[in-house]
């Protein structure tokens, strides 16, 4: 790969004549259609100016990309930019010296950075506790409810549920019509992390982990246990379909019309449009009226771009130039339209609105609207170390609840104990 990029750089140098172009290595985790859009963005950027060349490289899934970046950094072969996902944020942000905060980078090379340009919901997730952005949100999505309009009509339901109470009331009619009512694709993300954001509940001590690494998980709470008791009831009653841990397996159940509704990502919109042969709609993530009267915003999932340290001034300037380009309204609007990920700046959102995009495709706006719902004290995200392993612990606990191996209380007690052991261990690695 390295020789290939060197070769590309070499050819690029020849092609453009006397001056050398600075290369920006960009490692990402966007496969399939998303990867094509990344390539298109790179082509546009490379055509837009002649000083720098962006070289995107697909490194596999989110975890693979992070591991590749870590290994490269340890061997002093790190790329200039790397895409790191939500669960890996604590790993990279708690390693100061591994990255240059994007706020600093843009301040230094692009003459200014204003966090308030970014939409409310994406501003804080990859920032430090003072709100300084360390990573630049790139593919930002948020959990939404997709519903099959035809199945709901068949079951005599006119509108999708906005609360879980409403969902419970309509589920029997959907079962009667011969379908499961609901499936979802990422229980740690949707039924745990965003569950807390939606209901404005704290999920970890130390300001959800933003202030310290010496923290404890707070998932073992009554609201969560009540929710999961219900989900287990729904599973047993045939209202809820569990098609495994895989994202795609549960999405397929929706595409194949096994389930009437599916909780997925706003970023799934484009893919669903292409793969379904029925009318579907999107709506906000339901909440429990019993817990909160007015639901709060969800926070983002997806990933952010981090500028890796140890590069020359010239290279940093190149990286900053690309980030600046990426955040421009036109590029953001293009990215939003092609992928379904939310636009990260207010200007890009305004551009999409003024272009009439949401009039023709109103469902594409739901994600942004949900992120822009009123913020609460606990809606800005979380920062927890070894969170990849903690999600594994959570998946295990939820499967134990579903299979009846453990009761809800037992499963959450185990989850709390194992997650706290991991958090302790992470704390020891950074101090």
């Amino acid at each position: 790969m390295r020789t290939l990029t060197l070769l590309t750089a070499g050819i690029a140098t020849f092609a453009t004549g006397a001056w050398a172009q600075t290369e920006i290595q960009f490692w990402h985790a966007m496969g399939g259609r998303l990867g094509e859009v990344v390539e298109e963005v790179a082509e546009k950027y490379n055509a837009s100016q002649s000083d720098y060349v962006l070289v995107p490289t697909y490194k596999g899934g989110y975890e693979d990309t992070m591991t590749a970046g870590i290994a490269a950094f340890r061997a002093s072969q790190q790329p200039h930019l790397i895409q790191i996902f939500d669960a890996g944020a604590a790993t990279i942000i708690n390693a100061p010296g591994a990255t240059i905060p994007v706020a600093d980078l843009l301040e230094q090379y692009e003459g200014g950075f204003d966090a308030s340009d970014y939409i409310e919901g994406v501003r804080n997730f990859y920032a430090d506790s003072e709100g300084k952005m360390i990573g630049m949100p790139f593919n930002s999505s948020t959990p939404l409810l997709y519903y099959n309009k035809e199945i709901l009509a068949e079951a005599g339901i006119d509108a999708p549920p906005s609360t879980w109470e409403e969902f419970e009331a309509m589920a029997p009619a959907i079962k009667e019509a011969g379908y499961q009512a609901l499936a979802q694709s990422h229980s740690p993300w949707i039924f745990s992390e965003n569950f807390h954001s939606r209901h404005n509940l704290q999920l970890a001590t130390g300001n959800n982990g933003f202030d310290s690494t010496d923290v404890e998980i707070l998932y073992n709470n009554d609201a969560m246990k009540q929710h999961w008791t219900k989900v287990k009831e729904w599973l047993d009653a045939g209202y809820y379909g569990f098609y495994g841990r895989g994202w795609g397996d549960n999405q397929d159940a929706f595409v194949q019309k096994k389930v009437a509704m599916w909780l997925g990502s706003s970023g799934s919109f484009g893919g669903l449009k292409a793969s379904t042969d029925f009318e579907f709609g999107t709506t906000y993530l339901p909440y429990w009226e019993a817990i909160i009267d007015e639901p709060k915003a969800t926070f983002i999932g997806g990933a952010a771009l981090f500028a890796m340290a140890g590069k020359s001034d010239e290279e940093n300037a190149a990286t900053a130039d690309f980030l600046n380009y990426l955040a421009s309204p036109e590029v953001q609007y293009f990215w939003h339209r092609e992928t379904g990920y939310v636009p990260i700046t207010n200007a890009a959102y305004e551009l999409a609105k003024s272009d009439g995009y949401y009039e023709s495709t109103p469902d594409a706006e739901i994600g942004v609207l949900q992120l822009n719902q009123p913020a609460g004290e606990w809606t800005k995200g979380y920062r927890l170390g070894f969170y990849v392993q903690i999600r594994e612990v959570m998946y295990n606990a939820y499967e134990d609840i579903f299979s009846g191996t453990a009761t809800v209380d037992e499963a959450f007690a185990t989850m709390e104990e194992e997650a706290n052991a991991l958090l302790d261990r992470f704390n020891a690695t950074v101090n």
Binding site: F73, T91, G97, A428
Partner: protein, 292 residues
């Protein structure tokens, strides 16, 4: 006194050099690194590092998840080794007796040998897909209530089935070769003495096959411990509830996905010791019963 000695030549060293270099680069050097890392607590990027003695070992080895994985690995490896050997032996004995179209049978049985574990896993995954999987539907046809996404036993069944299926063909090849190596004269002599083919098999054929069986057992245990990684990764990934997590898969999960280098190094050192011990036991105690 004059010492009698052959003249030294560099050539033997040259001959073993490639092997030594390969072992050094791909085994000795990484093992040394793993042992070194297993005593360190580091952030993922290696910016800060502290020597912590056995903390990585105690943190990981005494965790429920590791013990669960160790338990499953033991059951899984025994089942995979035993079943793939037994099935392959049965098939080899039967195929050896076939006269018409023998090569067709043999070719078909060897077929799966060319398939890599991850590919076998992907195929299995498709067949057990809850929406379109034929085997999944087949299992449920008989009112089994088969659900490998949630039931630990069903999930174990899926990974064992795929692992055995993938391994049977290589065992079959070796057993068949072993059977054909048994002298005809011995077999004919046995036939005259004893009419029961079952008895002849256990008293004559099986003992004569012992070297092959022993070799295959060593190979199969290694397969079940390490190579089934690709199958676990493409099917259950340790689900449900960590019930199908093997030790080697857990090393990968913690180290390559979770960026916990110290913890996963400690686990891989323990795994290395376990497999070394197992190999020593095999050669020390079981090989004594093998007559070449």
């Amino acid at each position: 006194m004059k010492r009698v000695q052959f003249e030294h030549s560099a050539i033997p060293y040259l001959f073993i050099a490639p092997q030594i270099i390969i072992i050094s680069i791909f085994f000795l050097w990484p093992s040394a690194q793993a042992i070194y890392q297993s005593f360190l607590l580091e952030d993922a990027f290696g910016l800060s590092s502290q020597f912590v003695w056995f903390k990585n070992y105690t943190d990981t080895i005494f965790s429920n998840a590791w013990l669960q994985a160790a338990g499953f690995t033991l059951i899984f490896s025994s089942l995979v080794t035993f079943l793939s050997l037994a099935l392959a032996l049965l098939l080899a004995v039967k195929a050896n007796e076939v006269i018409h179209g023998a090569s067709t049978y043999k070719t078909l049985l060897m077929w799966a040998y060319a398939i890599a574990p991850p590919v076998a896993g992907l195929m299995g995954n498709l067949m057990f897909n809850p929406i379109i999987g034929d085997l999944y539907n087949f299992m449920n046809l008989f009112g089994f209530d088969f659900d490998h996404k949630l039931d630990p036993v069903d999930a174990g069944f899926v990974v064992v089935l795929i692992s055995v299926w993938k391994q049977v063909s290589i065992n079959f090849i070796f057993f068949l070769a072993g059977l054909q190596g048994i002298p005809k004269s011995v077999q004919e002599a046995a036939k005259m003495d004893c009419n029961s083919s079952t008895r002849r098999f256990w008293t004559i054929t099986f003992p004569l096959l012992a070297p092959t069986t022993f070799f295959l057992m060593v190979i199969n245990i290694t397969y079940a411990f390490f190579e089934t990684f690709g199958i676990i990764d493409t099917t259950t990934q340790g689900a449900p509830g960590g019930a199908t997590n093997t030790l080697v898969y857990k090393v990968y999960q913690d180290g390559f996905r979770g960026a916990d280098i110290g913890g996963s190094s400690a686990q891989s050192v323990v795994l290395m010791i376990l497999v070394l011990a197992l190999t020593v036991i095999q050669f020390r105690y079981i090989e004594k019963k093998v007559h070449y």
